[in-house]
Amino acid sequence: MANNKITGGRTVLLSFFAFLFLFVSHTSVGLSQKITKHYASSIQENGVLYYVFPFEGFKEVDGKGEMTYDITYHTANDSAVVHISLYSPKNLGLQSAIINYDTLRLITKLQKVLVESYKKDWHYRYKFKLTLSDLNSIFNATVPPVINITADSENIKLHIRNRKWRKQSDIVRKIINLIKLNNEE
């Protein structure tokens, strides 16, 4: 009798955690194609401003640095501004970013937004511009890109896990599609 009660209690607990797991996985992964929670748009006098919320996942290959990025796109000037936040314990003066994807290499100059302290690290906030077609080709890459950031004293090599990249690129591609559909006459 007592054993039955214990087994019943376990079943209830297992059911509860199974429900939790299914719900969380449904909302966080199953709806990854649902892009509404990943971007915001605002209608302006001269076009539409799109903002893709920050994504994380890029990590330094030979160090403790981590990078997040967010994208702003304005239809009026057809250029996307990519803001990157690099968190690193090192003192760096960032110069440029080299984005290696598929067999291509895109080199862009970085422009400083701010540098501030973040926990025990430094937060380097920089930005660079890309055209929508460049952005599209990066997020259509079959393998995750590798980013090399050149700094005064050294180079920072950042990579992202395949699964994370697949999820992020799915979302960004869908947002780019949305922009293109809205841009069509």
């Binding site: 019943g8 209690g9 079943t11 209830v12 607990l13 059911s15 509860f16 429900f19 939790l20 719900f23 969380v24 909302t27 966080s28 509404t36 929670k37 915001a40 605002s42 302006q44 006098e45 401003l49 903002y51 919320f53 920050p54 967010d70 702003t72 304005h74 501004v81 803001h83 936040s85 937004v113 701010l114 906030r125 930005k127």
Partner: protein, 105 residues
């Protein structure tokens, strides 16, 4: 039937106890929230930049981050604010985020 009651009680206890991560929102969902709403508008014209800042809460026990308007504006180099929106999400009271979006130039 007894098992079902116990299960409902556990879920209810979890959702409605103080140990849950929820954020301020005009419409709150106990199971799932994904809401965008306005915070402020100014008389400044046009906005070509967007900056965001976020705080996160786990189980209502740990909450960290800086979701100030200043932090969001600084992140995009905004000096003239046009309007401010908020994006609030929460899943089962386990994980919640509160994101401030600042539009401006």
């Amino acid at each position: 039937m007894k098992k079902l009651i116990v299960l409902v009680a556990i879920v209810a206890l979890f959702l409605f106890s103080s140990c849950a991560a929820y954020v301020a929102s005009p419409a709150l969902g106990a199971l799932y929230t994904d809401v965008k709403y306005p915070m402020a508008v100014t008389s400044n014209a046009n906005s070509a930049k967007v900056g965001s800042a976020e705080v996160t809460s786990i189980l209502g026990i740990v909450a960290t981050g800086d979701a100030s308007i200043d932090a969001a504006a600084k992140s995009a180099g905004i000096t003239k604010i046009h309007h401010v929106d908020v994006h609030a999400t929460s899943i089962l009271g386990i994980f919640a985020t509160y994101t401030v979006l600042v539009y401006g130039e």
